[in-house]
């Protein structure tokens, strides 16, 4: 009893018509790293919102026992006062304020009512040292990378004397290196007596760092696994999450690869603001019909930048190079030109760049191909509805109708809407940037099937992904990119994570 820092007893939380949490019980031991796993919509985030007071006492039933006392939080401030700090997936930092200002935002160090800047920066530097962040405390948040921003959030939590740190998908936006650093930090904090709860889709990370893993499925706490004692494997966790054994995370396939459909030669692009900085450095690559080609690289290596500069010059300046489709040179200077020439690009950030979240499924699917629904200057709304409904069925988009607002769909279903949108422009080459980011295991499998189906139809597919197993699982050929250059090309049969990682971390002048 006294050994546990937190007990959530029989927590039930309902929304109109939905039971989001059904008598969930969660016990977190003092000083452990406790992972929570579950598919999207299983209730993980709801549970954390109950814990942190976002859903105040009285809106749920059951008890929260923190350090052996029943707590009744009515807002986040209450839970923070007890030392429970939650760091959300979307970081809550103000981009134009400095690191130090962000750390002490809402919690300023004052003397006689005025902010003591010297002390603020000094204290910030101490906290930054604790999380291993080597930056000047007065640097603006917008000038540091996402990985470092994540560390600022943790430093901010430490400034609040955190006892229980909750991280919601902390590594979703991080590359492998930053992720590793973050996980090290969690272990380090554990040594200092700070308990952590980590919500993650990345099972290898959980396997590496967690002491206990609680699996939530459909609003129920299914089981808690002691990682070390029971030597729990990733397959074991997946089994708990989906309620069945998933033998193969990547569907099997017999690729039928045809002639070359896209060739890029000596492609260069420079940073849009810092115009002397080369971002895409002399990339040459090709894709053939029916082939799935992967682009591997750590974040910032230039994968997305390459894809976007290729797709209608939508990123970068001073772009040079040649693009050939089926042997004929094509122009891709504007996005509509690129689309007309058979290119499609599904963005890595579907909420910001991919979808109009306040609009329905139908209009999102038709947006890039609206002209195909026009006769005599007018859009045929009924044909549009019919087409969208066909996609809803063929892509298995779970929504009552195509008039449902996309913002209300789960990540996996949103991604299917994005894919439908681009499939409907009838492209020859589809560039899919992080097609399964933030999507649960079941939906990922469906996305892979869709990708394979498109390849089987004779399209060329380029997949950009930060998850090496994913690239190894679905691609026929993988290019590794580092610092804007292609540093290696590996066939499926030769590809290993180690080899790819070697190419991905290859620095200039060593190739």
């Amino acid at each position: 009893m006294s050994n546990s820092i937190l007990e959530m007893r029989s927590i039930t939380k309902t929304f109109p018509g939905v039971v989001a949490l059904d008598k969930v019980t969660l016990t977190v031991e003092r000083g452990e790293i406790h992972a929570i796993c579950g598919e999207n919509g299983a209730g993980k985030s709801t549970l954390m919102k109950v814990l942190s007071g976002v859903y105040p006492f009285g809106t749920y039933s059951g008890d929260i026992v923190f350090e052996n006392n029943i707590k009744k939080f009515s807002n986040i401030r209450d839970s923070e006062a007890e030392g429970i700090v939650i760091i959300h997936q979307e970081l809550a930092l103000s981009p134009y304020l400095s690191i130090a200002e962000n750390i002490f935002l809402g919690n300023e160090i004052k003397t006689f009512g005025l902010i003591d800047w010297n002390k603020t920066n000094q204290e910030a530097a101490k906290l930054m040292a604790r999380v291993g962040l080597e930056e000047n405390p007065v640097t603006a948040i917008k000038d540091i990378g996402v990985g470092k921003q994540q560390l600022v959030e943790i430093a901010k939590a430490l400034s609040k004397r955190v006892k229980l740190l909750i991280l919601d998908e902390p590594t979703a936006a991080l590359n492998d290196e930053d992720s590793a650093h973050l996980l090290d930090l969690l272990r380090h904090l554990k040594g200092q007596g700070i308990t952590s709860i980590i919500i993650s889709h990345k099972l290898n990370e959980i396997e590496a760092v967690a002491d206990t893993t609680t699996i939530i499925r459909d609003g129920n706490a299914i089981e808690s696994l002691h990682m070390k004692q029971d030597s729990v494997s990733q397959e074991r966790i997946i089994k708990g999450m989906v309620g069945r054994e998933m033998e193969n995370r990547y569907p099997a396939r017999n690729p039928e690869i045809g002639e070359e459909i896209l060739r890029v030669e000596h492609w260069n692009a420079y940073h849009p603001i810092d115009r002397n900085r080369i971002v895409v450095d002399d990339i040459s690559m090709n894709v053939r019909r029916g082939e799935i080609v992967g682009l591997a690289g750590i974040m910032g290596a230039g994968r997305t930048e390459f894809a976007r500069s290729l797709f209608g010059h939508s990123y970068g300046t001073n772009i040079t190079g040649k693009v050939f489709k089926s042997g004929k040179e094509i122009k891709v200077k504007t996005i509509s030109e690129a689309i007309d020439n058979g290119l499609a690009y599904a963005t890595e950030d579907r909420k910001r760049y991919g979808l109009n979240l306040i609009e329905d499924i139908k209009r999102n699917i038709s947006l890039a191909s609206l002209k195909s629904f026009v006769s005599m200057g007018l859009v045929n709304n009924n044909e549009e509805f019919k087409k969208a409904s066909e996609y809803r069925d063929s892509m298995n988009i779970k929504a009552p109708s195509v008039l449902s607002i996309t913002g209300q769909l789960s990540g996996g279903n949103q991604q299917k809407v994005v894919l439908s949108k681009w499939i409907n422009v009838n492209p020859d080459v589809l560039i899919l940037d992080e097609p399964t980011r933030g999507i649960d295991v079941g939906a990922k499998y469906e996305i892979y099937l869709i990708i394979q189906r498109l390849a089987a139809e004779g399209k060329g597919i380029i997949v950009i992904s930060s998850e090496l197993p994913e690239l190894l699982g679905i691609c026929d050929r993988i290019y590794a990119i580092a610092e804007g250059r292609i540093t290696g090309e590996v066939l499926r049969k030769d590809a290993t994570p180690e080899l790819l990682m070697k190419y991905m971390t290859m620095e200039k002048g060593r190739s």
């Binding site: 109109p16 760049y353 109009n356 947006l367 929504a399």
Partner: protein, 416 residues
Amino acid sequence: MSAFIERSKGFFDSIGDRLQGVNLRQNGIFLALIALVLFFAATTPNAASITPTNFSNLVVQNGYILVLAIGMVMVIIAGHIDLSVGSVAAFIGGVAGILTVRPLEQDGWDWLPALPWWAGIIGAILVGAIVGVWQGFWVAYVGIPAFIVTLAGMLLFRGMALLTLQNSNIGPFPDEFRAIGNGFLDKEKNFNALIGFPIDYNLTALVVTALGVVVLWIAVLRQRSGKIKYGQIVEPRTWFYIKNIILSAMVLYVGFQLSQANGIPITLIVLAVLIGAYTVVMNRTPFGRYIYAIGGNLHAAVLSGIDVRKVNFWLFVNMGALAALSGVLIAARMNSAVPKAGDGFELDAISSVFIGGAAVQGGVGTVTGSMIGGLIQGVLANGMNLNSVGIDIQMTIKGLVLLLAVAFDVWSKRRK
């Protein structure tokens, strides 16, 4: 959320199912408008608010605001704003005056003959479009926020209005020109005389109203049957008929009232055509769809291959042309082009749009909603005038109505 789909069907869901396809927000402000009309019918002395003449006045007094609101809702859906429309209307009033009445002698343009009324109107609208080209250029191609460009335009075109009018007035306008703001269809009841219809009711007005109702039914029935053919969810049949019968009854009632006054105002015909045309533009043309897409998520629109700059540019050209038409209506109604015309109209147009359900962040809004929003303001002002409410109280109430309408919107969204 997958839970959103998987939830079990309870009592409230079955009500929800029955109401599926019913646009509560849009119907809500419509009901508010009806309630307002009924309220003033009950409170104004001798039910003055629902007399034939008052209906007629309501239309011609609010027509120019509604024309502005049509352009404004498009601008706002795309995520911009236009503060200059009142000044542009005044400037174009002056231009119309110079074109149709007389060039100003002191400018040395007195050798130029006055144009026929129709050429004057076309010319004025063209100049308005050029104003739109100017503003659209800065917004779309230079990338200056519309707030700044049109704030500058507000001063700039007020100055141009003073310049063109040499700080005085131009008038009177030719009768045909005046008719667009002040005239009526067959005011002399020639049609009555032709077939010997009782002189108490303007027959042309009755016929046009009836035609309007027929067109309305054809449109809604065609839309419904098309949707059913494609297996879409439609409003429940009873609700559909009740709604459209009520709507037709109201149109017939207004037409009947107008037939007892001077007949149908030309302004109303102009408005009806514009509302119909722009509803089609917004819902059925790629241009309209792109406007919603740009306002909903600019990045996604860009990456979908939409030429955002082009859409923004034409949006402001369109706004300029509509502001010009509004200026023509104002000059025609006052029978004089004055430099102070249209003062503050941009704010009336903007509030109409927001009362009508548009979102400040863009991406949401309808032409018909804005028209209802404009009418709510018009009926409110008119009813308060008839009740001899002072301008002090009127402004206070108008402000509160705008605030509460948007607050209701925010609140109802949050409940969802």
